[in-house]
Amino acid sequence: MDVDLIFRVAAIGILVAVLNQLLSRAGRDDQAMLTTIAGLVVVLLMVIEQISVLFDTVRSIFNL
């Protein structure tokens, strides 16, 4: 299991949370929203391989 990936996702989560706070305090709620979505997309791109591996595993276990 690649532990690095988990730490990276956690770091991005923290940074995006802080960015979100910073932007919404400055009254730029729409940009805060955009940052959050961008963070989500980045993290999704990072884990998408793992998700496909998971699906493959499930498929092979149940012989689907």
């Binding site: 991005i12 940074l15 910073l22 400055a26």
Partner: protein, 173 residues
């Protein structure tokens, strides 16, 4: 590994610097407007109480102010004392155009200052003080506006710089 750490630090420091640069640029507008206001006060004093001719009054103002404002007034004074048929407004526009890149002012500030220059040196002392007072009042409104914008955005830019650097490092590692 060591190279990676060093490169990460360089990225973070660079992004922080960019953030601070933009934040400073915002706060510089308020500072320069304040300097212009104090310059106008001194100009008023020189005209009203010392009875100096305009070129000399401007030169004295340039002595009392720091940085780019000083250079503008000095250039203008030199241009006027050269006696080559330039009007006050021409001299002003020339010195402003020369320092435009150093001036962190918006177009509305420049327009107000140009209006001031177009009325400077014509009319009697009462007209001059009226002109200076009106311009100073305008500048003080702009300054409080600029301070408000800076209060809202200066810290934001600095924070954004640091966080963007961290984000890039996390993504690249």
């Amino acid at each position: 590994m060591l190279i990676r750490v060093i490169a990460s630090f360089i990225i973070i420091i660079g992004c922080t610097y960019v953030g601070i640069y933009f934040g400073e640029k915002l706060s510089l507008r308020a500072k320069q407007l304040a300097t212009f206001q104090s310059a106008l006060e001194i100009l008023k004093f020189n005209i009203l109480f010392l009875n100096l001719p305009l070129a000399e009054a401007l030169y004295k103002v340039s002595k009392s102010q720091p940085g780019v404002v000083s250079r503008i007034f000095r250039d203008m004074s030199l241009e006027l004392s050269r006696d080559n048929g330039k009007t006050v407004q021409n001299a002003w526009e020339m010195s402003i155009a020369k320092e435009r890149r150093e001036l962190n002012l918006l177009q509305e500030d420049i327009v107000a200052l140009n209006e001031f220059a177009s009325r400077l040196g014509s009319g009697d002392r009462t007209d001059q003080t009226g002109n200076i007072d009106i311009t100073a009042a305008k500048l003080s409104i702009f300054e409080s506006e600029a301070r408000e914008v800076c209060k809202k955005n200066c810290r934001l830019y600095k924070g954004l710089g640091i966080l963007a650097g961290l984000l890039i490092v996390v993504l690249l590692i």
